[in-house]
């Protein structure tokens, strides 16, 4: 082994890496907000008394959770144009990530909703609140608080999974790493750095989500 490490050659590609990081963060931020919103709606539908709605959402959840993310992404990016739906790389990436996180977070949030004591729902009803009001003001906050750690893990998985989007040339961090090693022929250094950057992003994301969760959903300590 006479390989001499050379990290300095990466410096020339700093703008490419920064663009990649920004894109990864952007994809993650947008798909987290939309995906969790979709999950809240999905969980509300799955726990609602409107049976057809619960069945349709159930089918969506099972379809997404039992197929590979890469295939979902390819279907959206390469398959949908056959129906006349053409999306840019980043649009397809966001859509795939939202649809994917939406399905997983539907199941996670549903678990939190199911853990709501029945008496609190009865208390809301006996105060004259409607079903949607009870969901929004009584059920949702404590439910999100209960499942926040699980949801945080899922969001981190989606952030790391965004690397798959390099396969449709969405120019995120993995795409940048691929690009650089194809130019400087230093795959060890490039992927070592990419690994470190993903690790840092994941740790930072967990920390931010834990702060957000503490502020929004820590029941009985601060307001929801």
């Amino acid at each position: 082994m006479a390989y001499s490490f050379d990290f300095s050659s990466l410096l020339d590609y700093t703008p490419v890496l920064v663009d990649g990081i920004v894109t990864t963060i952007g994809l993650t931020a947008v798909s987290t907000v939309l995906g969790v919103a979709l999950g809240i709606g999905g969980a509300a539908a799955r726990t609602s008394t409107v049976k057809p709605l619960a069945v349709v959402v159930g089918a969506y959840v099972e379809l997404i959770r039992n197929t590979p993310f890469l295939v979902q992404l390819f279907f959206i990016f390469f398959g949908l144009p056959s129906l006349g739906i053409r999306l840019a790389e980043w649009q397809a990436a966001v859509l795939a990530m939202v649809v994917n996180l939406g399905a997983y977070s539907t199941e996670i949030i549903r678990a939190g909703i199911d853990a709501t004591p029945k008496g609190q729902i009865e208390a809301g009803a006996s105060l004259g609140m409607t079903g949607p009001q009870i969901f929004r003001y009584v059920v949702l906050g404590p439910a999100m608080g209960k499942i926040w750690p699980a949801l945080t893990s899922q969001i981190v998985i989606v952030m790391l999974g965004s690397s798959v989007c390099s396969q449709i040339a969405a120019e995120e961090l993995s795409f940048a790493a691929n690009f650089i090693q194809s130019r400087n022929f230093r795959p060890f250094e490039v992927y070592f750095l990419a690994t470190a950057l993903y690790l840092a992003l994941a740790v930072a994301l967990r920390w931010i989500l834990s702060l957000v969760g503490g502020r929004m959903f820590a029941k009985g300590v601060s307001r929801a």
Binding site: P117, G119, Q120, E122, A123, G124, A125, S126, L127, G128, M129, T130, Q133, Y137, V138, G141, P142, G145, F217, K219, G220, V221, R223, A224
Partner: protein
């Protein structure tokens, strides 16, 4: 068996009928727990429902604000009629307050927010009115200084008093209390019963399911004894306690007094 109807001479009862239950039936699967119950409560009356567990008293109470869907009969509260076909029960529920055995406070909201929530989203009151009403309601149960406390920071007795304040703030015509002291440590029972006693003295219409026989005897205008899904005896507490007309009630009184 027809209910024994004894004329009631309640302290603050106005004689105006407020709650009227006619032929209430309810089954859980094959088990019929309410077998055609008739009951009327006048404005200002304080009525205690007693009976063994499984006699249907909690189910009857819960049917008065629609938490149990009835299978037959009619519920009428202050002119608001509900029958088994009724889907939207909100009009009824605005006239009927309910306090539960397990308090059921919303854990993520402070005492004040617990009281304000329904004022805001159901009664659509503005912020200032909501806040004033919540402060008044909490002061009434002796917890004016606990506005910003979360349920987890309150004792069981305090939580139950917040739950009472939460119901009262909605200005119900009648307040239902479902074994509201049964989940409390013995030393905390008195503070909750004190609040209920004060409400009774102020003329609030109250229907209680309770095992506090001494309290029922002292505060209630009327005692309703349920057995096997029917009201089999009712009247002034002293009369029922001292001269039970049915062997079932005699046996029940013997059981609770032997405790």
């Amino acid at each position: 068996m027809s209910p024994v109807n004894t004329p009631v001479a309640g302290g603050l009862a106005t004689g105006r009928p407020l709650v009227k239950l006619s032929g209430i039936r309810k089954s859980f699967g094959p088990v019929e727990v309410l077998k055609g119950v008739d009951m009327a409560v006048e404005e200002g009356q304080v009525v205690a429902m007693i009976g063994r567990s499984g006699s249907g008293k909690s189910t009857l109470l819960r049917s008065i604000n629609g938490l149990e869907r009835i299978d037959g009969g009619v519920i009428e509260v202050d002119g608001e009629c509900v029958d088994p076909g009724q889907i939207d029960l909100r009009a009824l529920r605005q006239k009927v307050g309910m306090v539960f055995q397990q308090f059921n406070l919303f854990p993520h909201l402070t005492a004040g927010e617990n009281v304000m929530l329904a004022l805001k989203v159901v009664k659509k009151q503005d912020k200032a009115a909501t806040r004033a009403a919540a402060e008044a309601a909490l002061a009434k149960v002796g917890l004016g200084q606990k506005f910003n406390a979360y349920p987890s920071q309150l004792s069981g007795g305090q939580q139950q008093r917040v739950a009472i304040a939460r119901s009262l703030a909605m200005a119900p015509k009648v307040l239902l209390c479902d074994e509201i002291t049964s989940a409390l440590d013995p030393e905390l029972v008195a503070e909750v019963l004190g609040v209920v006693r004060k409400l009774a003295e102020e003329g609030m219409t109250l229907i209680l399911v309770t095992h506090e026989m001494r309290f029922a005897r002292e505060v209630c205008d009327r005692l309703v004894f349920m057995h096997g899904g029917r009201i089999i005896e009712q009247g002034p507490p002293a009369e029922l306690f001292d001269r039970p007309a049915t062997p079932e009630l005699a046996q029940f009184i013997g059981m609770v007094e032997a405790r």
